[in-house]
């Protein structure tokens, strides 16, 4: 029977394959549906509309529970390996994912920030504060336009400065 995040103790998972950790979480933890999403624009593709990234509810449960997910730097290292010209297959999985000490429980805000660093290209967020227009916003899903007719025209408002405004 599944329980809410925090109502069960995470087993000692260092050394356990990440796949098995996710299986434990799926069996034991209830999903956590976040009300937040990340709206972002790719500065390398200015013609494309703003993208909306949403955390997976099973993943969010793992993040809030703690002791399951690897450090976000592990994914950076895997991405670096994949860009090598002679890359054929990953070989550092055990070192980076399964034997690395899992990270502790995060708050929802920390989990969203982790997700930005994991799933959004680095060139979007690494220096987003120095960009001359907003290119990344964390917002509630109800702040997005509710109609999709002009979905391909969505852009982040350049003068956005309040959580109460629609962001695109």
């Amino acid at each position: 029977m599944k329980v809410k995040v925090g109502e069960i103790e995470t087993p000692e998972f260092q050394g356990t394959h990440l796949w098995n950790r996710l299986g434990w979480a799926k069996e034991n933890l209830e999903m956590v549906r976040s009300q937040y999403c990340i709206v972002w624009e790719d500065p390398n593709k200015p013609e494309e509309p703003a993208k909306v990234t949403s955390p997976d509810p099973n993943w969010m449960a793992c993040a809030l529970q703690g002791g399951i997910l690897p450090p976000v730097s592990s994914y950076w290292e895997l991405a670096k390996d994949e860009t090598q010209p002679d890359f054929e297959r990953h070989t550092r999985g055990p070192e980076l994912l399964h034997n690395m000490k899992p990270i502790d429980a995060m708050t929802e805000e920390q989990a969203i920030e982790y997700l930005i660093m994991k799933d959004i290209p680095q060139h979007v967020w690494r220096d987003y504060e120095t960009a001359n227009k907003p290119r990344l916003v964390i917002c509630r899903k109800d702040q997005l336009p509710q109609k999709r007719i002009w979905r391909n025209a969505w852009r982040i408002k350049e003068d956005i400065n309040t959580l109460q405004e629609k962001v695109a």
Partner: protein, 174 residues
């Protein structure tokens, strides 16, 4: 460490039941376990086969397992359930990126999906991958959905009840 030699082991209170706490180690690299008429064989690291229906052929567990699946409503960014997914990205009308928690070992994985029809069993949809602009990686899959005339969806009405269920099967070795 000693060795017990016996042809049959039975339970004490109930001869049909026995309990072994925690871990059983069978063999070293190769091992065979018979569950009645079903044979489970471990031929090497990461290669476990199970007797398939009919009793003659076998199925490789590792290669045959689905490693990632996801059911979500594209336009509403409503994520219903999943396995091994960290996020969904609504990239544009009809375009989605699914990012994994445990990466694949390489990009040679297979995927399949289906679309939930609003009603009437008359919606024609295609799910595809744009090989020209969307590069799949070991950590994420980019797909698009198109309607019968090939256009990506730009109408909320067409895809407001779209569900995509993806299964990806590939040896997830690392």
């Amino acid at each position: 460490m000693g060795t017990i030699k016996a042809d049959t082991v039975t339970g004490l209170a109930d001869p049909n039941k026995a309990t072994i706490p925690n871990t059983i180690t069978m063999g070293s690299t190769t091992a065979t376990l018979n569950f009645g008429n079903t044979v489970i064989t471990n031929a090497s690291a990461g290669s476990t086969t199970v007797t398939a229906e009919g009793g003659s052929t076998t199925t490789n567990l590792q290669q045959g397992l689905c490693k990632v699946w996801s059911t979500f409503e594209h336009d509403a960014i409503s994520l219903e359930d999943s396995l091994n997914v960290s996020s969904h990205s609504n990239d544009a009308a009809g375009r989605t990126t699914i990012t994994f928690t445990n990466n694949f070992s390489n990009v040679d994985y297979a995927y399949c999906g289906t679309v939930f029809d609003g009603q009437g069993a008359n919606d024609v949809r295609t799910i595809g991958h744009d090989n020209g602009t969307d590069t799949n990686s070991t950590s994420a899959l980019k797909i698009y959905t198109a309607q019968a005339d090939g256009a990506l969806n730009t109408s909320e009405r067409l895809f407001s009840h779209q569900h995509l269920k993806f299964t990806l099967s590939k040896k997830m070795e690392h």
